[in-house]
């Protein structure tokens, strides 16, 4: 447990270092200019280095778990800090039921968005929406086909009404 949480900060820090160095290296390719007349590269390089340094800081101060130094904040007496709120919010996300695995949700939610992007120019709104709804619903292993189909058709009608008829957007309804 302890090990795993430490790794999370390490991974996060490494990600920041990688992104920061990438920004700095790419930024180096633009004109740096002078301090008086900064070129296109100055700010990106500076920010990239800063991000890498911050990433290093995240790794070095990586803490196991939630024991955060900010517990010395003024609200200490009540043991109430924004982190408690954060934790509450996390509980909201996690508890309440044994939800499906987050990776499954991630996959189907992203797939649903991707399918929308691929299909909307070809199939039009009315056919694309139910397909995307179907894919998104797969994130929930308990979803049943008939209600999902009805939901998809309902949403197709609703979005067509709001966006195309109501706001007059130029979207194809059918292929």
């Amino acid at each position: 447990m302890l090990q795993r949480l430490t790794t999370r900060d390490t991974l996060g820090g490494l990600l920041m270092i990688a992104l920061g160095l990438a920004a700095a290296v790419i930024g180096r390719g633009y004109d740096l200019g002078t301090l008086r007349q900064m070129g296109a590269g100055w700010f990106p390089v500076a920010l990239g280095i800063l991000l890498a340094v911050l990433g290093l800081g995240v790794i070095l101060t990586g803490r196991p778990g939630h024991s955060v130094p900010a517990q010395d904040a003024p609200a200490q007496e009540t043991a109430l800090t924004p982190e408690t709120a954060d934790r509450n919010a996390l509980q909201t996300d996690g508890d309440g039921s044994a939800g499906p695995s987050p990776l499954r949700s991630l996959f189907f939610v992203l797939a649903s968005i991707g399918a929308f992007a691929l299909l909307i120019p070809i199939l039009g709104l009315i056919l694309t929406v139910p397909i995307s709804v179907g894919l998104a619903s797969m994130a929930d292993p308990k979803s049943r086909p008939v209600p999902v189909l009805l939901l998809g058709l309902g949403l197709a009608a609703l979005t067509s009404a709001i966006f195309v008829l109501g706001l007059g957007l130029q979207m194809d309804l059918l292929p």
Partner: protein, 509 residues
């Protein structure tokens, strides 16, 4: 004073047009709705509905988006009280005493009192907004690029360290946001930065795609497949059960006013919004109480103060955005982006060049809050019923609204794919416990900050000392440095204490 009265009468004429009233109502109703539903926040909703506002007038767009923001604050307390799930993060503290009140059969009173407290806080916050904005504006006229740059530094540091759980991660997120904000054509030199040869990136990353991907998608993933357990019977909340006793009124009045004061001050400062205000108000009330043990067991002071603080902070958060053009938090940053898209430049020029917009929006806040009073007291039963809408219907609907919304901006499937990419990145960051709100703030301020930096350096002939030679700029930077020093000190002391405790434990074994 005369100026303010003239402004208000102008604002009244704008805000009472049929279309503005409609968008105001739509905003607060949608806001209450997403506030009530746990897991769907105001920020994601504003991002989601931003494309819709591209097609309406600027005033209406701003009125509606703001309505979502403060409406969500009203609605958020409903879920906190009835389900012990904060509808929005800012109302998390309301769970502490609101839910115990529900268990004691006093849900009605709690809902009534939070609505009244929200209204009182919002109203006084609004008075502060209207009263202080003209003075701040006068000060802002003397600001040059140096002051703007330093103020942004202060704002970004405050926003990323004060309201996140890990200051370093918050700073990293702000920096990453600044970098992402630079993608596209550099206005000064014409260089295309970080575009990787893609023509479509010349205009920069799409803000709506970024906001929805980073906020909407992780929220969806967290909520998919969730089943709600405790559903409240809407019939149990009757008119009679809502009316507070005389004792309730007496206990609530002063906390409401103190909360408003705390919220109004913290809201106007950069980086300290409603979340911090509500927690601080709770801490203050608990400290002042004759019998602190009542807190956590249904003390009405514990909901009245924080709710007033949260709503006052939301109103005064508009002060720096509207007068200086510098948003204090991610929601305000989105609001500012919405204005820029409409061709409005938030900042000192806004009030003088477009007084109808400034005052119209301010007056609409008053109208919106009155609407919320009606929506949340007589119609509370409707929202309680909405808490019963199952998630399996809700989350695919949100996916669709995100897709259609993003697609409708430019009819570009490229933008929709970006939602996917940002969604993945947002999820990754959430898993690694990075908070994305500072990233959004950095993203929107990035180009502006670079411009002010360049201009300052040009004016000072390449000397960084210009930032500390000018007194106002220097004081902003000093404040930023103080925040960082204080955090470093608190962190070191915390570590030392933890080590001491560990040694102590080891010794006693």
């Amino acid at each position: 004073m005369m100026e303010i009265l003239n402004g208000l009468s102008l604002g009244l004429s704008v805000a009472f047009s049929v279309s503005t009233l409609f968008y105001c109502f739509a905003g607060v109703a949608v806001g209450t709705l997403v506030g009530v539903l746990p897991g769907l926040g105001g920020l994601a909703t504003i991002a989601m509905l931003m494309p819709l506002t591209y097609h309406v007038a600027a005033v209406d767009a701003l009125v509606m988006l703001s309505g979502i923001y403060y409406g969500a604050a009203y609605g958020g307390s409903t879920a906190s009280i009835l389900l012990n799930l904060p509808g929005t993060a800012n109302t998390a503290v309301t769970c502490l005493d609101g839910y115990p009140m529900t268990k004691q059969g006093r849900a009605g009173v709690a809902l009534f009192m939070t609505t009244i407290a929200s209204f009182v806080g919002a109203f006084i916050g609004l008075v502060a907004l209207v009263g202080f904005a003209p003075y701040l504006l006068a000060a802002a006229r003397s600001f040059s690029s140096q002051e703007y740059f330093s103020l942004m530094v202060l704002g970004l540091i405050a926003a990323s360290v004060l309201s996140t759980s890990s200051p370093l991660k918050g700073l990293a997120m702000v920096t990453l946001g600044l970098i992402l904000g630079l993608v596209g054509t550099d206005i000064t030199s014409g260089t295309n930065r970080f575009t990787f040869g893609s023509l479509r990136l010349y205009d920069g990353l799409n803000l709506v795609a970024l906001a929805m991907g980073m906020f909407g998608v992780p929220e969806l993933i967290a909520n998919a497949g969730r089943v709600r357990s405790n559903i409240v019977d809407s019939k149990s909340i009757t008119w009679r059960s809502m009316w507070p006793t005389r004792d309730d009124w007496k206990r609530s009045t002063n906390p409401m006013l103190r909360g408003t004061g705390i919220g109004a001050v913290l809201g106007a400062l950069p980086g300290t919004g409603g979340l911090l205000a509500s927690f601080m108000s709770y801490a203050v009330e608990k400290r002042l109480a004759k019998d602190p043990s009542r807190f956590g067991n249904g003390a009405i002071e514990g909901i009245a103060g924080p709710e007033a603080a949260n709503n006052a902070a939301i109103q005064t958060a508009f002060i720096p955005t509207l007068t200086l053009g510098i948003p204090g938090d991610a929601v305000m940053a989105l609001m500012m982006a919405a204005m820029i898209i409409q061709g409005i430049v938030p900042g000192p020029g806004l009030m003088t060049q477009q007084p109808d917009l400034f005052w119209g929006v301010c007056v609409s806040f008053l109208i919106g809050n009155i609407m919320l009073l009606i929506l949340n007291i007589p119609l509370i039963g409707v929202w309680v019923k909405i808490l019963a809408v199952p998630y399996w219907m809700l989350f695919p609907a949100v996916v669709i609204f995100i897709c259609v919304g993003v697609y409708s901006i430019n009819y570009s499937t490229f933008d929709v794919f970006w939602v996917m990419i940002f969604g993945f990145l947002g999820y990754l960051l959430a898993v690694l416990k990075f908070e994305v709100a500072p990233l959004l703030l950095g993203f929107i301020l990035g180009p502006l900050m670079e411009e002010h930096l360049r201009r300052s350096m040009l004016l000072s002939r390449g000397s960084f000392s210009t930032f500390v030679e000018r007194p106002i700029s220097a004081s902003f930077l000093a404040a930023a440095a103080l925040i960082l020093l204080w955090l470093a000190y608190a962190s070191l002391r915390g570590r030392a204490r933890a080590r001491a405790a560990k040694q102590h434990a080891a010794l006693s074994e």
